[in-house]
């Protein structure tokens, strides 16, 4: 089942190579409905209350190195898999409506490859398999930005690749080192996460390996101060690709902390907890302050992502169940809001011909539906109480509050800042007077058919965020294991 | 006879060949000098083979001869091609590979 889910996108991408150009996009979109359906089925079929992996696939792959083709899902990954499938379908459909001229086949093949790689990273239960999929994600985005991007795409791509490759290589080294060092204890070479977890490394090795993994993940997110690749890549990437680059890829990194780092290197995690929390809080404040001085709409969303990922990291490294639950919820939420934002930005650019908010405005006049969709997404972005994002942030902050009070207070400063920059983005595009050269035109039925379902999911999740936290809970507890900060006993007076 | 004499001869031959490769500019002479170095090697191999009573060295020498023959074919072929295209037969002027 999981193998089918994993390889379908790539298969349809390859099928597209043999199709006439105009059909490629639609075939890819239709093909992406299959993984989406499977992912929904996985959520429906999910067994509550157990951290055990479900729907596992396990076969030998490279016996000499002890690498296994091991897939599985649990409460950590099931919604991230669904998020990936959903956003990819949205992005594919949006791209199919306005395909890149000339090289459609490569474009959609790369998108398919990207989905396979991302799903693989979320489902892999073998350390080396995870690392391979993690690195494989880079390749399609290299081409998607390098070939189909806007101005300065080559420089932007190079910068992104250099940054993320450094991280990836560090991670590869760390992964191999883990297996090699642990093999002395286990007796043979293995990359299986469960086996490695049972044989912990010494604190000294854990520390440097932790640093390597953390570097890789923080670069991918990106997190302050290693976000240097973000502005250029965000400026250059095509918007449907950017929706994925910002909506899904950072989640793989955050997920990596929970899946790999916390269980495998608990001693180092505790050792570096404050350092990572410090980086996370710095990301929140830095991202927020930057987001409210930027004038490029993409960068406002980009820096806000840095801040949001800061919250997620903070939640994970609060080392409390509630904080990590909130982080999982927030990963899904952030993906759900940031992808429609970039798609809406694409619509805004089509209407106004610019991405500079000082030259935008008034687009709501003849576009009430577009404005309403954008407003809902904006409110979710700023974690309006009543949205699932609020519950995510609330859980995260409660977790931080339980483990380190000071960080919670400092991080809370990020909340009003978020209100300001998110609302500023909305107001400066939709409200005020319409500048010369821009036309206010409502969203077309086809575009609405792509964006409205995402907004519907946001609203639905707002009514019942427990859907995710309930399922994530046991898996999170298991992954936190012994590093969990003692949750205070809940006194039920009633 | 002591194996040392053979080795001395081999070393002299090798040094001559190496000096030729380093000092001469004509590709043909360089090729010849390379042959000289290879054969110096062969001589050492055979000499050791005799002194230890082991046949491996001789077989190795045969392989080297085969490789040397191939090398000459390719090398002379290249030189002929260069001559045909009226390129200068001077290795110092062929610097297209400069970094």
């Amino acid at each position: 089942m999981l193998s089918l889910l994993l390889w379908t996108p790539l298969f349809f991408g390859l099928v597209g190579m043999a199709l006439p150009r105009r059909a490629v996009g639609w075939v890819a979109t239709a093909g992406s409905l299959l993984p989406l359906g499977i992912a929904i089925g996985l959520v429906g079929d999910f067994h509550l209350g157990t951290p055990v992996l479900q729907h596992t696939v396990d076969s030998s792959w490279i016996p000499g190195l002890g690498v296994r083709y091991q897939l599985g899902i649990d409460g950590l990954s099931v919604f991230l898999v669904l998020l990936t499938a959903l956003l990819w379908t949205g992005s594919l459909a949006f791209s199919a409506l306005r395909p890149p001229e000339g090289r459609e086949r490569v474009y959609f093949l790369m998108l398919g490859l990207g989905e396979t790689a991302t799903l693989g990273a979320f489902m892999a239960q073998d350390l080396l398999l995870f690392v391979l999929f993690f690195d494989l994600m880079l390749i399609p985005f290299f081409f998607l930005i390098g070939v189909f991007g806007g101005e300065n795409r080559i420089a932007a791509t190079m910068k992104m690749i250099v940054y993320t490759l450094v991280g990836s290589l560090l991670m590869l080294v760390a992964a191999i080192a883990t297996a090699v060092i642990a093999s002395g204890d286990i007796g043979h070479l293995t990359f299986s996460l469960s086996e490695l977890r049972a044989h912990q490394l010494s604190l000294g090795s854990q520390e440097w390996i932790f640093c390597f993994f953390a570097a890789a993940f923080l670069i991918k997110m990106p997190s302050f101060p290693v976000h240097g690749w973000m502005p250029d890549a965000y400026r250059a990437a095509p918007l449907p690709v950017l929706a994925l680059l910002s909506g899904v890829l950072p989640k793989v990194a955050a997920y990596g902390f929970l899946r790999v780092v916390l269980p495998l290197y608990p001693a180092a995690t505790v050792h570096f907890q404050e350092l990572v929390m410090l980086i996370a809080v710095a990301s929140i404040l830095y991202g927020s302050v930057m987001a409210f001085t930027q004038t490029n709409v993409r960068l406002i969303a980009g820096y806000s992502s840095i801040a949001q990922l800061g919250f997620i990291t903070l939640g994970i490294f609060s080392l409390t169940t509630v904080g990590a639950d909130g982080a999982i919820l927030q990963m899904v939420n952030h993906g759900l809001v940031v992808a429609p934002i970039f798609l809406i930005i694409a619509l805004i650019t089509e209407r106004a011909g610019t991405e500079d908010i000082t030259r935008l405005g008034g687009l709501a006049t003849r576009a009430p539906v577009l404005a309403a969709l954008f407003l809902i997404v904006t409110l979710a972005t700023l974690a309006m109480p009543g949205s699932a994002n609020f519950i995510g942030e609330f859980d995260i902050l409660i977790g931080v509050f339980q483990s380190k009070v000071v960080y919670a207070f400092v991080a809370a400063i990020g909340v009003p800042l978020a209100a300001y920059y998110a609302l500023r983005l909305y107001q400066r595009t939709m409200h005020n007077r319409l500048p010369e050269g821009a036309t206010s035109r409502d969203i077309s039925w086809r575009d609405a058919a792509v964006i409205a379902p995402m907004v519907a999911v946001i609203v639905g999740l707002a009514l019942y965020p427990g859907l995710i936290t309930k399922r994530a809970d046991t898996a999170v507890q298991d992954k936190l294991g012994e590093v969990a900060v003692g949750t205070p006993e809940i006194t039920q007076v009633k | 006879m002591d194996v040392a004499w053979y080795l001395v001869l081999s070393a002299l031959l090798f040094a001559t060949g190496a000096a030729g490769v380093l000092l001469r500019r004509s590709p043909i002479v360089i090729l010849l000098c390379l042959e000289l170095m290879l054969n110096a090697g062969n001589l050492a191999l055979v000499a050791f083979s005799r002194s230890t009573g082991n046949q491996d060295g001789q077989i190795f020498a045969l392989i080297v001869m085969v490789v040397a023959a191939c090398e000459v074919v390719v090398g002379l072929g290249l030189i002929v091609a260069m001559f045909r295209r009226r390129l200068p037969l001077n290795v110092d002027e062929l610097r297209n590979m400069r970094g």
Binding site: G326, A364, P385, L423, Q427, L434, T491, V493 | L22, R95
Partner: protein, 668 residues
């Protein structure tokens, strides 16, 4: 049906109305959106009465009912339910909110007829009422915060309702951000509560707090101060008040509903709801009371100087909420909520009358240009004066009884609390004066050109423009509609204002000291556990307080009469004489400027610095450094690639020779 079922219906109708109007915004003809919205709120009001009847049927000590729809979020020890709490306090608030809202909806049906955003307006307005009711009925902290933020959003949406006006969008942003600061305060308070008491549910929290905390323990003071941050932001108390005057950019009925009668009083409700915590933290309660006192005096002085009609009323609102906050903070819960109710009546009435006057002035809001509407608009003028009398606390009017009840309570607590009584009476004098600054200047004097035009039978029409900046506008969606409406010509406006006028006169009569105590008796179900339940003043003291209040009120009105009717021009001379004081007041004590230079500018500066210096030097520097290192190494290595075959051969031979030498040396 049970009281809780009624309460759920109270919540459901406005939400349903909002959704129905939002979805069918294109299909609804004419004024139908407005009628649907009004009907939804009317039904909610009816259900509130149903809840009241059901609650009164319960015995007095078990009037606290809870009900849960579903579990909202759980995990990690957290268990947040979608639950409501129905008790006398929440039912009382529901009645006030839905009652006043129904009338304001009715008024709006006429007032916004010609606006192109008619359906959007009513969708927002219904959503606002839903949010407000959610805030009131919430049974736990999380739902309270949700309602709290929803009203903040609804307020934002309605302030920037004319969204192509830059002043309106700026004002909306300011209101929203300040409200979010309040939200954060509440959220942090909720964290403390959860950490120490292990629950978010109000009844659980309150009973646990009494067992776990002792009086003035650090943590409970912190909780109360954080709650105060939320309350002050929402209720426009110092220093978080600056958004309220700017919020007057919204349509006038919005100012009446949200920024006078309901939302801004949420802070009062919050402190009343949290009274078990505040009684455990007297220090925090006293701080809140002092802030209330400071606000009521500050806003009263500013209301003497500003010239925008709606902004005068807005500062008056700040000031009156100062009374309420002070009241609930010193323990006069029912008095504070009584004032909340009467204030809702007369302040909504004042705004409605002001809206009618502004309609007659073709959108102009400058009080200096208004005069002599007495003949042109008899109905509006009478109701404006009724509102002014009630606001001034003229004997017998609603504001008279409610305001004095707070002050008598303060005086009765004695000691330090005398300060509150004295400050309150000083504020009452200011109130009486500025109330009639509005009343007399609008109705008395020589008719202004617009009033004359109206006497001749047609409403003045100006070019559409922004009243604050004078920028020209059109009348399409995003700007006010082309027509202006006055109460004299619109039946719905007249009905709404008439009912409110009646209530503003008689609303105080349901709680007269020594005669009847309807509100206090009813609210006893919530406040029976209060430590101050027994310290209520005797009716003798209360009547003494009323006498003092009446004297002060009449003195203030007399002074206003002297300044504006008997000797017009007195104030101009005063302004000349005390120029610096006047400009200090007129610039609202320079609060906006202070915030701008203390918070906004530094933040923008930090952002710029980060963008220009940090991004460029440090973040780019990492890359540039790495690239430079690689390139430098490349230059060095490149030198070896000379292209000389013989040089390569030399390297090879030399290298092998060196290796051989090394091994020779090592092996010996």
């Amino acid at each position: 049906m049970t009281a809780t079922a009624y309460a759920w219906l109270v919540l459901m109708f406005p939400l349903l109305g909002s959704i129905v109007i939002a979805i069918n915004f294109r299909a609804l003809p004419g004024r139908s959106a407005g009628w649907i919205a009004t009907a939804a709120i009317g039904l909610a009001f009816a259900c509130s009465i149903g809840a009241l009847i059901q609650l009164l049927a319960e015995p007095g000590d078990s009037r606290q009912l809870t009900s849960t729809l579903w579990t909202y979020a759980q995990g990690g020890g957290l268990d947040i339910k979608l639950g409501i709490l129905v008790d006398p306090l929440s039912v009382f608030m529901c009645l006030v909110v839905t009652g006043v809202s129904t009338l304001i909806h009715l008024y709006s049906v006429s007032y916004l007829t010609s606006d192109r955003g008619f359906a959007r307006y009513f969708s927002y307005l219904n959503f606002f009422v839903f949010s407000m009711l959610l805030l009131i009925l919430a049974g736990n902290f999380v739902l309270l915060i949700v309602g709290w933020a929803f009203v903040g959003f609804a307020s934002y949406a309605l302030i920037s309702f004319w969204y192509r006006r830059e002043t309106a969008t700026k004002a909306g942003m300011k209101a929203f951000v300040i409200n979010v600061i309040g939200d954060v305060g509440l959220v942090l308070a909720a964290f403390f509560v959860f950490r120490d008491l292990g629950s978010f549910d109000f009844p659980t929290v309150f009973s646990a707090a009494n067992q776990q905390f002792h009086t003035n323990q650090g943590v409970v003071v912190a909780i109360c101060l954080l709650i105060c941050v939320g309350a002050f932001a929402k209720s426009a108390q110092l220093p978080l008040h600056t958004w309220l005057p700017d919020a007057m950019e919204g349509p006038t009925p919005v100012s009446a509903l949200i920024h006078a009668a309901t939302m801004v009083t949420a802070g009062v409700y919050l402190i009343a709801r949290m009274h078990p915590l505040f009684e455990l933290a007297p220090t925090a309660a006293d701080i809140a009371a002092f802030v209330g006192l400071a606000t009521l005096l500050f806003a009263g002085t500013v209301a003497l100087a500003v010239t925008d009609l709606k902004r005068i009323i807005a500062y008056s609102t700040c000031s009156q909420i100062g009374y309420m906050i002070m009241g609930v903070a010193i323990g006069a819960y029912s008095a504070g909520l009584f004032h909340l109710m009467t204030h809702a009546f007369f302040k909504a009435l004042l705004f409605m009358a002001a809206g009618s006057v502004i309609g007659a002035m073709a959108g102009n809001q400058n009080i200096d240009r208004m005069s002599g509407f007495r003949k042109a608009m008899p109905f509006t003028s009478v109701l404006l004066l009724i509102g002014s009398f009630a606001l001034a606390g003229f004997p017998g009017m609603s504001g008279f009884f409610s305001k004095d009840e707070i002050l008598t309570f303060a005086a009765n607590r004695g000691g330090m609390y005398w300060i509150f009584a004295a400050g309150g009476y000083l504020g009452a004098f200011l109130t009486a004066f500025y109330a009639f600054r509005i009343g007399f200047r609008v109705t008395r004097g020589e008719p202004c050109p617009e009033a004359r035009a109206l006497e001749e039978g047609h409403i003045a029409h100006g070019e559409p423009m922004n009243p604050a900046t004078g920028e020209p506008e059109d009348t399409d969606v995003g700007f006010p509609g082309p027509e202006h409406h006055i109460a004299e010509r619109e039946v719905p406006m007249r009905v709404a204002m008439g009912i409110l006028g009646f209530l503003a006169i008689v609303g105080g009569l349901i709680q007269i000291p020594g005669v009847d105590n309807a509100i206090e008796n009813f609210l006893d179900g919530t406040f029976a556990d209060s430590r101050f339940a027994s310290t209520a003043p005797t009716s003798g003291d209360a009547w003494l307080g009323l006498a003092v209040g009446a004297a002060i009120s009449i003195a203030g009105i007399a002074l206003a009469y002297y300044c504006y009717v008997a000797r017009p021009g007195t104030t101009a001379r005063l302004v000349e004489r005390f120029g610096p004081v006047h400009s200090f007041l007129k610039n609202k004590w320079y609060f906006d400027e202070a915030f701008d230079s203390l918070i906004y500018r530094p933040l923008v500066g930090v952002g710029r610095f980060a963008n220009n210096v940090f991004e460029r030097l440090v973040v780019e520097g990492i890359v540039a450094g790495a690239v430079g290192a690689v390139r430098g190494a490349g230059v060095v290595v490149r030198g070896a690639q000379s292209g000389f075959v013989r040089a390569y051969a030399l390297l090879l031979v030399g290298g092998f020779a060196a290796l051989a030498l090394y091994f020779l040396i090592v092996s010996h």
